[in-house]
C-alpha cells in the first residue's frame, strides 16, 4: 500500500514539476520537485522489489550519476544545447538496453510486452544516435556534408525504416535474434534523419528527440510493467511535442521543413566563421574600435544585439561592463534578444543572466523592433542570421519569413565579427553592405575591451564619476 502511495505521489509531483517548469517564477522549484519525484519513485520501486542486486545498482548509480554530476557542474553555459543533447541520447540508450535485457528474462513477454520491446529498441536507438549527431553538429565536429542533402536520402531513410519494420515483424514471429539488426538499423536511421538537418534547426531536433526519449521510456514502462514509467514517459513525450511546436513557431519554421527540408542555404558554403565567402561582399566598410567609440560617445540610445559569437568569445561580462560605462554617461542601453539568438531558444537570456545583466534591459524582438528607427547606434555582437534583412526582403532566400531584428532601421550599425564568413545558416547577410553599417573585425571580447579603453580615454567614465560626486 505504501509503495502505491509513494508512486501516486511521485506522479503528482512530476506533473506539477513539469507544469511549473513552464513559468519563470516557479521554474527552479519545479525542477527540484521533479527531481524529488524521481527520487521518490526509486524509493517506491525499491520498497516493492527489495534490494536484490544492490552492488549492480550502486555500480550504475556511482558511474552514471557521478559522471552526469561532474559534466553538469563543469560544462560552460555556452555548450548547454549540446550537453542537453548528450544527456538525452543517454536516456534513449538506457531504454534500448532495458528492452534488450528484458527479452532475455526467463519470463516470456506477452504481445503488448513484445511490441513495447520493439518500440523501446527502435525509438531508443534513434534517440541515441540522433542525439549524438545533434551534439556533434552543435559542437561543429560534424558539418552538413553535401551528399547528405541529395534527394536520395529520403529513399535511404525510407528503406532503413522499412527494414526496421521487417525486423520487428520477424521478432514478433518468434525470431528474437532479429533484435540485433533492428538495433543497428535504427541507430543508422537516427543518423540518417539527423545528419541533413542544418545547425540552426538543431534545437528543434533536440526537442523532438527529447519527446522520443519520453516515448521510449513509456515503452520501457510496458516492458517492465510499471505504470509510473508509462505515465511519466507519456507525459514527457507529449510535452516534448508541444515544446517542439512552440520552438518551431518561434523560429517561423514548420516541423516538416526542419525534418525533411534539409539545411538552410544548403550547399552554398560550410558553416562557421571561416574566411570563405569574403569575395562575395563588395561594399563593406570596416572601422576601428576607436571610430566606433567616438560614435558611441555621442549617442543617446544604444541597442546591443548579442549572438552566439558573443557567447563563444565569453564576452558577456565585458559587454555588461561597457553597458554600465555608457549608462554612467547618460546613454540609454538595451539588449535586443531574438527568440532564437544563440544556438537554442532562450540561450542568450541564460548567458546574459550569468553576467548579471538586469532583466528589464533585455527586450524581446517584437517589443524592440519599433524602437530601431529612433536608435542612434546598434552594435551587433556575433549575431548574423537573426539580423539579416533578407528575411524580410528576399522571397527567394531560405531565411525568408523568419522574424528578424530590424537593425537596418537604426541610424548607425556596428557589426562586431571575426570575419566576413557566412552565418550559421550559411547565408549572405545584406546588412553588412548597407551604407550605415560598419564592420568591426575581431574577437567580440577583444573588441569590447578596446572599446572600453577608448571610451575611458575619451573621459566617459571620469565625467560620470565627477557628475556622480557633485550630486
Amino acid at each position: 500500500m505504501i509503495e502505491l502511495t509513494i508512486e501516486l505521489g511521485s506522479v503528482l509531483l512530476l506533473a506539477f514539476g513539469l507544469k511549473g517548469l513552464a513559468k519563470i517564477r516557479t521554474a527552479r522549484s519545479a525542477n527540484g520537485l521533479a527531481a524529488l519525484a524521481l527520487g521518490l519513485a526509486v524509493v517506491g520501486l525499491l520498497l516493492q522489489q527489495g534490494l536484490g542486486g544492490w552492488p549492480w545498482m550502486l555500480l550504475g548509480l556511482g558511474i552514471g550519476g557521478g559522471l552526469g554530476a561532474v559534466l553538469a557542474l563543469r560544462v560552460a553555459m555556452t555548450s548547454m544545447p549540446e550537453t542537453v543533447a548528450l544527456f538525452n541520447g543517454c536516456g534513449g540508450m538506457s531504454s534500448l538496453l532495458v528492452a534488450i535485457g528484458a527479452v532475455q528474462l526467463p519470463t516470456p513477454l506477452n504481445l503488448v510486452g513484445q511490441v513495447s520491446v520493439l518500440v523501446s529498441v527502435l525509438v531508443g536507438a534513434i534517440t541515441f544516435s540522433g542525439s549524438l549527431v545533434a551534439m556533434g553538429k552543435l559542437q561543429e565536429w560534424l558539418g552538413t556534408p553535401d551528399w547528405t542533402l541529395r534527394p536520395q536520402r529520403h529513399a535511404v531513410n525510407i528503406l532503413l525504416a522499412l527494414a526496421c519494420l521487417a525486423c520487428c515483424a520477424l521478432v514478433l514471429k518468434g525470431v528474437p535474434v532479429a533484435l540485433a539488426p533492428l538495433t543497428v538499423l535504427a541507430l543508422l536511421l537516427g543518423v540518417g534523419l539527423t545528419l541533413p538537418v542544418g545547425g540552426a534547426d538543431m534545437p528543434v531536433v533536440i526537442s523532438l528527440l527529447n519527446s522520443y526519449s519520453g516515448v521510449a521510456a513509456a515503452a520501457a514502462g510496458f516492458v517492465v510493467g510499471s505504470e509510473l514509467l508509462i505515465v511519466a514517459g507519456a507525459m514527457v513525450g507529449a510535452a516534448g511535442l508541444i515544446l517542439t511546436q512552440v520552438m518551431c513557431t518561434a523560429m517561423n519554421r514548420s516541423l516538416t521543413s526542419v525534418l525533411f527540408g534539409g539545411a538552410l542555404g544548403a550547399g552554398s558554403s560550410q558553416t562557421g566563421d571561416g574566411d570563405g565567402g569574403r569575395e562575395e561582399y563588395t561594399n563593406v566598410t570596416s572601422c576601428s574600435p576607436e571610430e566606433c567609440a567616438l560614435t558611441l560617445e555621442a549617442a543617446e540610445r544604444v541597442i546591443f544585439v548579442p549572438g552566439y559569437g558573443l557567447a563563444v568569445a565569453q564576452a558577456q561580462h565585458s559587454l555588461k561592463e561597457l553597458a554600465r560605462l555608457l549608462e554612467q554617461h547618460g546613454i540609454e542601453v538595451r539588449y535586443a534578444i531574438h527568440p532564437v539568438a544563440g544556438r537554442m531558444p532562450g540561450h542568450m537570456n541564460v548567458l546574459l543572466a550569468e553576467a548579471d545583466v538586469p532583466y528589464d534591459q533585455l527586450v524581446e524582438m517584437d517589443a524592440i523592433n519599433p524602437d530601431f528607427p529612433r536608435t542612434d547606434v546598434v552594435i551587433v555582437l556575433g549575431a548574423n542570421d537573426v539580423v539579416n534583412p533578407r528575411a524580410k526582403n528576399d522571397p527567394a532566400s531560405p531565411l525568408y519569413g523568419m522574424p528578424v531584428l530590424e537593425v537596418d532601421q537604426a541610424r548607425t550599425v556596428f557589426v562586431v565579427k571575426r570575419s566576413l564568413g557566412s552565418g550559421y545558416a550559411g547565408i549572405r547577410n545584406d546588412l553588412f553592405e548597407l551604407p550605415q553599417t560598419s564592420m568591426v573585425f575581431g574577437d567580440a571580447k577583444q573588441v569590447l575591451q578596446s572599446l572600453l579603453q577608448e571610451l575611458r580615454s575619451l573621459g566617459v567614465g571620469k565625467v560620470a564619476a565627477g557628475a556622480g560626486a557633485s550630486r
Binding site: A15, G17, L18, K19, A22, I24, A27, R28, L38, L46, Q49, G50, G52, G53, G60, G64, G65, G68, A69, A72, L73, V75, M80, P81, V84, F87, C90, G91, M93, S94, L97, G101, A102, L105, T107, V112, G113, P203, N210, A217, A218, G221, V224, G225, S226, L229, I230, V231, G233, A238, A239, L243, A250, M344, P345, G346, N349, V350, A353, Y359
Partner: protein, 98 residues
C-alpha cells in the same frame, strides 16, 4: 513482470498520460525553452526505474550487467539533466531579485 494493472488498463494510462502532457505545457516564454527542454529531458531519464527492475529480476550476472549499464546511462541523464537545469534557472532567479 507486472504492475498493478493489466495490459489494457496500462494502455489507458498511456493515453491519459499523453493527454496530461499535452495540457501541462501551453504557453512557454522563449526564455524558458532551453531550461524546460532540459528539465523534461531529465524526467525522461525515469527509465532508470526499468533498469532497476531489470537488475532486480535478472537471473544471471550478464543480465544484471546490462541492467547496471542501462541504469548508468539513465542516471547520467537524470542527475546531469536536473543539475544543468538548476544551474540555468539559478541565473534567472538572481536576475529576478535585481
Amino acid at each position: 513482470m507486472s504492475g498493478h494493472l493489466g495490459g489494457t488498463a496500462a494502455l489507458w494510462v498511456l493515453v491519459l498520460g499523453s493527454l496530461l502532457g499535452l495540457e501541462l505545457i501551453g504557453k512557454v516564454p522563449p526564455t524558458l525553452h532551453t531550461p524546460l527542454m532540459s528539465g523534461a529531458n531529465a524526467i525522461s531519464g525515469i527509465t532508470l526505474l526499468a533498469a532497476l527492475a531489470l537488475i532486480g529480476q535478472a537471473p544471471t550476472p550478464a543480465l544484471k550487467l546490462i541492467g547496471a549499464v542501462a541504469l548508468g546511462f539513465a542516471l547520467f541523464n537524470v542527475v546531469g539533466g536536473f543539475l544543468v537545469t538548476d544551474r540555468m534557472l539559478a541565473m534567472f532567479r538572481r536576475r529576478e531579485a535585481n
